[in-house]
Symmetry: C2
Subunit: 161 residues, 2 copies
């Protein structure tokens, strides 16, 4: 993989993973049962949500099946607090690290052509009309998604904007 642009996007992905890991390594587990703001999602929900959403990268980038499909009904298709029995922060933290590790391993083996090829949720026909609907675009979207929720997660900590 020698494509400078793609490398930088992957670096940005890894930097987001790291920044979010740091947020969840900062306090004891109970802390993440707090809502990020009154009436908003809890920290624990957002961690599960980020895992659930990043897990979609595996099938979308044609890298295999999701690793934690059981998180989707809890953290992706349901809002926070809709499901009573959810995994612990300790368990989610491990899932998060494991998933990131597996994805990063896959990314190092992908060529530029792989990244610029269509993702699995777009048809060949639609891809021919818009070649930007490729695997790289899915990754760019996920980086944005992590930044978006990271902006919310910092509100867990008093006084940080």
């Amino acid at each position: 993989m020698e494509n400078q642009e793609i490398n930088q996007i992957i670096k940005s992905w890894e930097a987001q993973n790291k920044a979010i890991s740091e947020i969840f390594n900062q306090y004891d587990d109970k802390f993440y049962l707090n809502e990020v703001a009154p009436g908003r999602n809890r920290g624990i929900y957002l961690l599960g949500h980020l895992i659930g959403m990043n897990d979609f990268l595996l099938p979308m980038l044609d890298l295999g099946d999701k690793i934690y499909p059981e998180l989707e009904p809890i953290f992706v298709t349901s809002p926070d607090k809709a499901v009573a029995d959810i995994p612990s922060i300790a368990e989610l933290r491990q899932n998060w690290l494991n998933l990131n590790h597996i994805l990063s391993e896959h990314f190092t083996k992908m060529t530029s052509n792989d990244w610029l090829s269509r993702h699995t949720k777009v048809s060949e026909e639609d891809f021919a009309k818009d070649p930007s609907r490729n695997k790289l675009n899915v990754l760019i979207g996920r980086i944005g998604h992590m930044n978006y929720h990271r902006g919310q997660l910092v509100f867990l900590t008093p006084k940080v904007n």
Copy 2:
């Protein structure tokens, strides 16, 4: 400009601009004097902050001087509410659109080589050591910054997570 990867990053930049414009076109001006969460930045501050930060792209990408340098001491180097006399939402909304327009115009003229060349705040020596400290990386960072604060701005609206 025929580099697919760079084009997609620019598209992502434009999508963020648009999403943030939509947030600030949704309500009457007074609404944006609300804090995004108790004790956090007001909507108006975050708009000024996003303009102030994006304005840095002009000097950093070697495209000229900042257009709104007067916003920096209010919205970048000072926290919210530290400066009493600030521009109105109407004025900031115009600055935002104008700045984005100017930047987008510049971006269409930049070549791949321009994007992969060093940004103005890194020395030639440091750039030689780490060629990822280029103009493209500055743009990737700014897209992340917009996503981050957009995640906070949605809290202005009741019930949207």
